[in-house]
């Protein structure tokens, strides 16, 4: 039994894993071909199929392009935002996101200078770094307390680890706001006073606008726009960048 399991694992390791990558590569190539011949419907279907097994920046980026060519600019922005969530510094994604939003009449003001300090890594990378530095920091601290007879002092190392820990924790907290980001998908999406269908509206939002979800109730999100306007939006008209579950 154990031998069979090990044999299977070996086969999977030697042949299966490269085989899966090849299949994804092939599908990715076919999706790109569909895009190149102008069959954006097919390209969108292919990219979305690949995403089920291979969630990568390239697939999200190309899917955003395909949606834009298909005329669904709101969804294009959504997938660019998802790509940036994985790789915040990707210049291609930034360029296309800005281009599509400009086409939609959304001109974002530049972020504050300190924001670039935390755009180095994705939320996952900051989270890993925080956990790793927390481990190293605590280990160094414990070592310093236990080992009283060592010749060298670990104090400089502890200070450095503490600074890295604070920096990575700050990066993690700053990027945690991605968890509540959402993108308006439909034209003239109404912003309502109350989470009911017959509620009066306080205005309409442009597709591609990135907003923040503050809470949700049944089929509605309570959102805040970059200008600070708040209201309820139907979940049909807006989608979160990071889907939980």
């Amino acid at each position: 039994m154990n031998r069979l399991f090990i044999l299977n694992l070996s086969i999977l390791f030697l042949f299966g894993a490269p085989g899966l990558v090849t299949a994804n590569d092939q599908a990715f190539h076919e999706a790109n071909s569909a895009y190149a011949r102008g069959d954006f419907e097919q390209a969108v279907r292919d990219y979305e199929q690949i995403l089920r097994g291979h969630y990568s920046v390239s697939v999200l980026f190309n899917l955003g392009n395909a949606y834009f060519r298909k005329g669904e600019s709101g969804r294009a922005v959504l997938f660019y935002e998802r790509a940036l969530q994985l790789k915040p510094g990707d210049p291609d994604v930034h360029a296309n996101l800005e281009y599509v939003q400009n086409q939609l009449g959304i001109f974002k003001s530049p972020p504050p200078w300190w924001r670039s300090l935390f755009d180095l890594f994705s939320l996952n990378s900051w989270s890993r770094l925080t956990l790793l530095t927390l481990f190293l920091f605590l280990a160094a601290l414990a070592f310093r307390m236990h080992a009283t007879t060592v010749k060298w002092s670990p104090r400089p190392l502890i200070v450095i680890l503490l600074l890295v820990l604070l920096y990575s924790a700050a990066g993690m907290i700053v990027r945690m706001d991605e968890l509540d980001k959402a993108v308006v998908l439909r034209i003239d999406s109404p912003l309502k006073v109350a989470p009911v269908s017959h509620s009066p509206t306080v205005g309409t939002l442009t597709p591609g606008l990135v907003i923040h979800v503050e809470k949700e109730l049944d089929e509605y999100y309570y959102v805040r726009t970059p200008e600070g306007k708040t209201g309820w939006m139907s979940k049909d008209t807006v989608e979160k960048v990071i889907q939980r579950g």
Binding site: V21, S56, P91, N102, I106, N124, S127, I187, P200, T204
Partner: protein, 623 residues
């Protein structure tokens, strides 16, 4: 709630001593206001201070005025064991004709003494007095009509009706899509009060009605009767062309206060007592208004402007630019404000009067600010981002907005003034291709994945990536519980290590305690060895080990090293040992251990086991 309160006051008035009757009783009458119009009601108050048992005042008849009792209030104080207080009876004074009136003295009996108030003057003007907020109100109804016969009305026309519903609207012909102000009035006899109301149902299916808010309350005189009037202002919208009936039916629950005073025993027929026994009872009724035929027509199709989007009402247009002195290519915001009254839900963003190739327009956002409760009046603000691509452009063209004016029965087209521009910079080329960009549909540039150069937002998309790249987890780490559990475990492990370290440090700072721990551990190991030696009948080793055990145990008591512990030391310094029952065991082990190597004395296993028990007893005694 009021009736029990009155009852308590009444009991207190009966039970407690009062100030001497007549000594401090004062009676006065006030009229507020003292000048009214013919369609208004003023209030007469007759106040008796110093008594709660005054009789009901006798109101003299005045030609042209009607007095209707509307309730009473009481107050009392308890100071130094003496009660004092008063009672005020209120009357609504309803004028029946204009002119100046004098209300003569009003007589009040307190005990056996009569008191009279001063005469009061009242001026009644013939004209209607404008109420605040009414002029210019789009909901203002037409002049009051006689009450229509409703399902609740009696048909003989002699007795007054108990309640009816009346609709008021500005015209009898409407346009499809038009919002029409509608006033609903429910007239109730003073003995009735509104408890609950349901949304009115309009006759037919040609109109839809907006929600009702809170009603306003007033008193109106109709056909010599005084009525409590609840007024709602709302909107209806015509949805079908043709001639249709316009009427409404309202389901409501009203509180009916029965006239039970006549059933009260003699002496209790004063209005003061009626409140105790006269409990209102709810009654569900349906009031139906008169129906009138109204005509609903569609706005004319001829001469309909191209920019008409269905807006019906009266509107104004205003346009402004966030900046007129910018570089070509910089975005500016055009604020288009449409204000007025009408169906704002059909007001769409206006369009430019002319198409200019070098002006790029983006989808506008819309925001509506109502200035009334129903969204009939207000302003709708559109914000549209505009990019001027050619600095040679000298003016921003006009916006055009069309609506249908139902009063004038014609289309109106509003046009904003052109806005002068002062643009700078060089013209932007339209659809300028750039290297590495997806300028031709479907083209892709190899090697764009992971490009290090930072592309700027240009005239087209950056081309697709050609390498699949690494796969990532779809759900970020902070959303997974395993991440936070790992962090918590790290902190717990660190906490445990701190506790362990503290324990070690505590021992390090306490040599006696540390030695005690070490000694105890050594004793346990030696006891195991002792058992083995007993089994193997190795008496020499047995007694040497037993002595070692005792030396270790007594070293803690004597504060010296175990090797320095001798029988003499124990005898000299531990008096408990010499006088206690274990002394023989201690002495025997020490002496045997000294002698056995030379004596060759033999001990059986059972004998050695007995010695081991004695050693355990010594250990238990000297902990």
């Amino acid at each position: 709630v009021r009736s029990p309160a009155r009852f308590i006051i009444f009991l207190i008035a009966l039970l407690l001593p009062w100030k001497a009757h007549g000594a401090d009783v004062r009676v006065r009458a006030t009229l507020n206001p003292s000048e009214i119009s013919l369609n208004e009601v003023t209030e007469l108050r007759v106040t008796v201070e110093g008594s709660l048992t005054a009789s009901a005042p006798s109101i003299p008849a005045v030609d042209g005025l009607e007095f209707v009792y509307s309730g009473q209030t009481s107050n009392f104080q308890f100071m130094n064991g003496i009660m004092s207080g008063g009672i005020t009876r209120n009357y609504d004074v309803i004028p029946r004709k204009a002119g100046s009136f004098t209300i003569p003295e009003i007589t009040v009996e307190v005990g056996k003494t009569s008191y009279k108030t001063q005469p009061l003057a009242l001026k009644v003007n013939a004209g209607n007095i404008s109420r605040p907020g009414r002029p210019g109100n789009p909901f203002a109804p037409p002049p009051p009509a006689s009450p229509p016969k409703s399902s609740n009305a009696k048909e003989d026309g002699k007795q007054p009706q108990a309640a009816w519903l009346q609709l008021s609207y500005p015209r009898r012909d409407f346009f499809v899509g038009e919002l029409i102000p509608l006033e609903l009035k429910v007239y109730l006899h003073p003995n009735l009060r509104l408890e609950e109301i349901h949304k009115p149902a309009l006759a037919g299916d040609a109109f839809s009605i907006s929600k009702l808010g809170q009603p306003s309350e007033s008193i109106e005189s109709v056909d010599q009767g005084r009525y409590l009037v609840y007024t709602w202002n709302t909107l209806i919208s015509a949805i079908k062309t043709g001639e249709h009936p316009l009427g409404a039916e309202m389901q409501m629950t009203i509180l009916v206060r029965d006239q039970q005073t006549r059933h009260l025993p003699p002496g209790f027929d004063d209005p003061f007592f009626s409140g105790f026994f006269n409990v209102p009872r709810p009654k569900r009724v349906a009031l139906k208004s008169l129906e009138s035929k109204v005509n609903v027509i569609a706005p004319p199709t001829e001469s309909k402007p191209a920019s008409f989007s269905g807006a019906i009402g009266k509107f104004e247009l205003g346009v402004s630019l966030s900046s007129t002195d910018v570089n070509a290519g910089d975005p500016v915001t055009a604020a288009i404000n449409i204000s007025g009254t009408g169906n704002f839900d059909r007001v769409q963003s206006p369009e430019l009067s002319e198409k200019v190739e070098t002006i790029k327009l983006y989808s506008p956002t819309a925001r509506f600010q109502a200035s009334d409760d129903h969204g009939f009046a207000g302003q709708k603000l559109f914000e549209q981002v505009v990019v001027f691509q050619d600095p040679a452009l000298k003016a921003f063209p006009s916006y055009i907005f069309s609506y249908f004016d139902p009063e004038a029965r014609k289309y109106v087209t509003l046009k904003s003034d052109p806005i002068p521009l002062q643009l700078k910079g060089s013209p932007l080329l339209k659809n300028e291709p750039s290297p590495g960009r997806d300028s031709a549909v479907g083209s892709s540039t190899p090697g764009s994945a992971g490009a290090s150069a930072a592309p700027q937002a240009g005239n087209d998309l950056v081309a697709n990536k050609l390498e699949l790249g690494s796969s990532y987890a779809r759900i970020p780490l902070p959303l997974r519980s395993v991440y936070w559990i790992s962090g918590a475990l790290l902190l717990v492990a660190f906490g445990l290590s701190i506790i362990f370290l503290n324990h070690r440090r505590k021992l390090a700072g306490d040599p006696k305690g540390r030695r005690a721990v070490t000694n105890e551990r050594d004793i346990q190991q030696l006891l195991h060895r002792l058992e083995k030696e007993a089994k193997s009948e190795d008496a020499t080793s047995f007694f040497l080990t037993a002595r070692k055990i005792l030396q270790i145990r007594f070293s803690g008591h004597l504060g010296i090293e175990p090797e320095a512990v001798t029988l003499g030391e124990i005898e000299a310094r531990i008096s408990q040992a010499k006088s206690g029952p274990c002394w023989e065991t201690i002495r025997g082990i020490f002496q045997t251990a000294d002698a056995i190597a030379y004596s060759g004395q033999h001990f059986s296993a059972s004998h050695l086991k007995e010695w081991r028990e004695h050693v355990n007893e010594v250990l238990r005694t000297f902990k």
